[in-house]
Structure formats: C-alpha cells, structure tokens
C-alpha cells in the first residue's frame, strides 16, 4: 500500500511541463546623450533615422544622423537563439535608413515589456534597397500573424506565421504549438519551421537572395497569465 501511494506521488511529480525556450532579440535603440528612443512615446509609432552607418560588430550598428549635429543613434540586439543573425557587413560606411517599430504596450514571451519589436535597415543610394529585418511580435490572437514590414512592391519579404500543429511543448497552461513561418517573395513562398532558414528571391535580377530565419514562432490556445498567446520572432537579411 505504501509503495503504491509512493508510486502515485512520484508519478504525479513526474508530470513535467515545459515552456518553449524563447529568447527575444530585445532590440535597443539609444540616442547618444538622450537615451532610449522609445522614452516618452505613449502609442505605437514608427521612427525613421537616416544617416551614415558604422557597423561596430555583428549586433551593434551606429548611425550618425544627417544634419549638422551628426548625433549618433546606436542600435543593438541580442541573438541568444539565432547566432547567425548579424547586421550585414555591406552596411558599414553606407548611408542608411533605419526604421524602428515602437509600441509601448508590446510584451515579450513572459509578458515583460518589449517596446521595440522591429528593426528594418535599408541602404539609400541610389535608391531604397532593403538589407536587414529583425522582428518579434506577440499577440493575444492565437491565429497566424501577418507581418508586412514594407509596402507592396518593395524589395523585402512579407511574412505570415501559420499554425502547423505538428510539434508542441507541454506548458503549464496547455500545449504551446510551434508555428511555421511563411516567407513571401517575388517568385513564391517558402515555409520554415522553428530554427529553419531558407532563401527567397526578391527584387531585380542579379540581387543576392534574401535569407530568412524563423527564429521562434508559437501559439497557445488558452490564456496563460501575462504571457501572450502567440509569438513570432524572425530575421531576414541579404
């Protein structure tokens, strides 16, 4: 009898749960002498910075803003779960346009504040030519997210997270299903599972293809405290 009770207790204790191991980019944009660019912003906003880029390292890009002051804005991100993501070397010394998606209500996978959720870098000479995208998007809607970082007919991909249902983690609030990421280009669509990378052609012939990475995408069907119901983290670069 005691052995049976002990066995039952251990069995219950062995009902382990696990959350997806999600490590956001935690994008930061800091204006020298001023502080975080999102400070004081109360609603979702797109900020655009133009200037000459200096690539400090894989994850740090300085932009000396146009104008007499030449003020620096430094963009950084963390790549704990995506070691291959880096600011492209061809940005160094080029005039660039950096677009920053700011939403003070946006949260990370644990419900933590994550006000900057997208970064888009383009070279500008002789025309806008997109080079680098990172984004992380949470949602209270567990159905697929549409992510369109640029207007139609530009030379950057669009993204769509789709519910794949093939793989899941047994989280404490019910299964968290890993999602696939569809990357939409000129010549078709590729679909990437978590951690997968693919290439897709966009723009003029002769341009290098985009490399797209589904860093992490998941959704859950039931609420789980402050945690979002869906998360999509992606990167793409030329």
């Amino acid at each position: 009898m005691r052995a049976s009770l002990a066995a039952a207790a251990v069995v219950l204790a062995a009902c382990v749960t696990r959350e997806p191991d999600t490590r956001p980019f935690r994008i930061e944009a800091t204006r020298a002498g001023v502080g975080p660019v999102e400070a004081g912003i109360a609603q979702a906003t797109i900020l655009v910075y133009d200037g000459v880029a200096h690539r400090q390292d894989d994850t740090t890009l300085d932009v000396a803003l146009d104008g007499a002051t030449g003020q620096l804005v430094t963009f950084t991100f963390h790549r704990d779960d995506a070691a291959e993501v880096a600011f492209p070397p061809q940005l160094d010394g080029q005039h660039v346009e950096v677009t920053v998606d700011v939403d003070p209500t946006h949260v990370g996978p644990e419900g933590e504040p994550l006000p900057i959720h997208g970064l888009l870098v383009a070279t500008t000479s002789p025309a806008i030519h997109y080079q680098f995208i990172i984004g992380e998007f949470s949602s209270e809607d567990s159905h697929g997210l549409q992510i369109q970082p640029v207007p139609a007919n530009q030379d950057a991909p669009w993204f769509h997270s789709v519910n794949d249902w093939a793989q899941f983690e047994p989280s404490e609030c019910g299964p968290v299903y890993y999602d696939a990421l569809q990357v939409i280009g000129d010549t078709g669509t590729i679909t990437l599972r978590r951690g997968e990378r693919g290439e897709i052609s966009i723009g003029a012939a002769g341009q290098p293809p985009w490399k797209a990475l589904n860093v992490m995408s998941w959704h859950r069907r039931s609420a789980c405290g402050a945690k979002p119901k869906a998360w999509t983290q992606l990167a793409a670069w030329r």
């Binding site: 052995a3 066995a7 251990v10 069995v11 062995a14 249902w165 299964p175 590729i190 679909t191 997968e196």
Partner: protein, 237 residues
C-alpha cells in the same frame, strides 16, 4: 530524471508483489489446452507416448513483444504522461501481427490536444526462448485541435523492441522513430521527426491479464527532450 525514478518505483511496486501473482512461463496460454507438460507419465509408457502427449510451451502474452498466435489478439490501455492510448494487436500467423493504436494527451489535456491513430505491422523474427525481438512499421495521422492550414499531418514510424521473458516478468527496451509530414499543401514545410527510447517491464496474471510500466525519453530535433512514462494494462486472447 524524475521519469527514471518513477520507472524504478513502479518496477519495485510490480516486482515486489507476492510471487504467486505471476504466472510462470511454463503455463499454457489457452486454458482449454491439454494436460501440462509436466504431468507424470503413465507407468510403462515409452518415450514415443511421452512425445505424443507433449504440448509446446505457450508463449507468454505481451503488449510490447510479439508475435501473437494466428487469430489471437491483445488489447491494451496505456495511461501516461504525456500520451495515453488504446491499442489492439492481432496475430496474422508466423512472425506477423497487425497493430492498431489510437493515442491522445488524456492526462495532460484531455481530448483537446494532439491525437493520433496508427495502423502497422509488427514482425517478430526472434520469439522463442528467453530473448524476443521485433520491429514494427506503421503509418497514421495526427489530429490537431483545429484544422491545420497546411493540410493533414501524416505519420510514418518504425520501432524496434528487444525483450527478455523471464519467469517472473518480461523486460524490454524499445527505440522508435516517427516522421510527421508538414501537411499536404504545396507550401508546407518538410517532414519533421521525433524519437522515443524506453525501458519497460510487464507481468502476466491469470494467463491473460498483463500489467506493465514503461519510462521513456521523447526527443525532438532542435527541441527539448522530455521524460515520459506510461502504465500499461492488457488483455490477451
């Protein structure tokens, strides 16, 4: 680690039960069969008469190990974390069994989570004596809580099982791999797969009833490896 502890404790619970609960391997499976092989010979009988009376030792029924006799079947209920399920195995004769299994995340998520159904063939070329071994090839489908926008999730799987049928229990180890299609749509992702490696034990009661426990690891490439367990209850006929 915790699953290993569970398995160890369950093994202790099962194997620590009074020995009278376990049927010995020498008992015939069919209660309607002739006299036991150990029945004393009639005085004066010669060796040929003894041979004529000889009944081959019946194979102890098992959930994990085959084969079943032709037309014999085993049904099993598994209760575990994460997967629970029901299965049936029908002996086709020789080394071959037909297997059917349905599973769901009963204890974890009721019937709201991922479920599956699988049909397969088990081939058990090593089935006499102490050691028994076989492989199972199966195909099936996973059912998701909502329709997948990428189409049906077809599965194919293979499993190898090796066991030792001792007098007091049957021990086995198994390794399985399962491929899951990315759906039937043209833009679907490719196949993914997962693996299971497990150790289990079974005991037979009253020649037909089987109780077992198994601990196993469920590994998915690029994702976490989860320790799992299941209790198994079977009936053989």
């Amino acid at each position: 680690m915790r699953a290993a502890a569970v398995t160890a404790l369950l093994l202790f619970a099962f194997l620590g039960a009074p020995a009278r609960g376990q049927d010995g391997g020498s008992a015939p499976l069919d209660p309607g069969a002739g006299p036991p092989a150990t029945a004393p010979a009639a005085p004066g009988a010669d060796a040929k008469a003894l041979d004529a009376d000889f009944e081959p030792e019946a194979r102890r029924p098992s959930i994990a190990l085959g084969p079943n006799g032709r037309g014999d079947f085993t049904i099993a209920l598994d209760v575990g974390w994460l997967e629970s399920g029901v299965g049936a195995t029908l002996g086709l004769g020789g080394w071959f069994d037909l297997t059917l299994r349905a599973d769901t995340l009963l204890l974890y998520d009721g019937f709201s989570g991922q479920s599956g159904i699988h049909l397969g063939v088990r081939i058990s070329p090593v089935s006499e004596g102490l050691l028994r071994a076989g492989v199972e090839l199966s195909g099936g489908q996973l059912f998701s809580p909502e329709p997948s926008s990428l189409g049906a999730l077809t599965t194919v799987g293979g499993q190898a099982t090796v066991g030792a049928a001792l007098d007091w229990a049957t021990f086995y180890g198994r390794a399985a791999v399962r491929g899951i299609s990315g759906g039937s749509e043209s833009s679907s992702p490719g196949w993914t797969y997962d693996e299971q490696v497990g150790l289990g034990v079974e005991r037979t009661f009253r020649k037909r009833f089987i109780v077992g426990a198994e601990g196993y690891l469920w590994a998915r490439p690029g994702l976490s490896t989860l320790a799992e367990w299941r209790l198994r209850f079977g009936y053989a006929r």
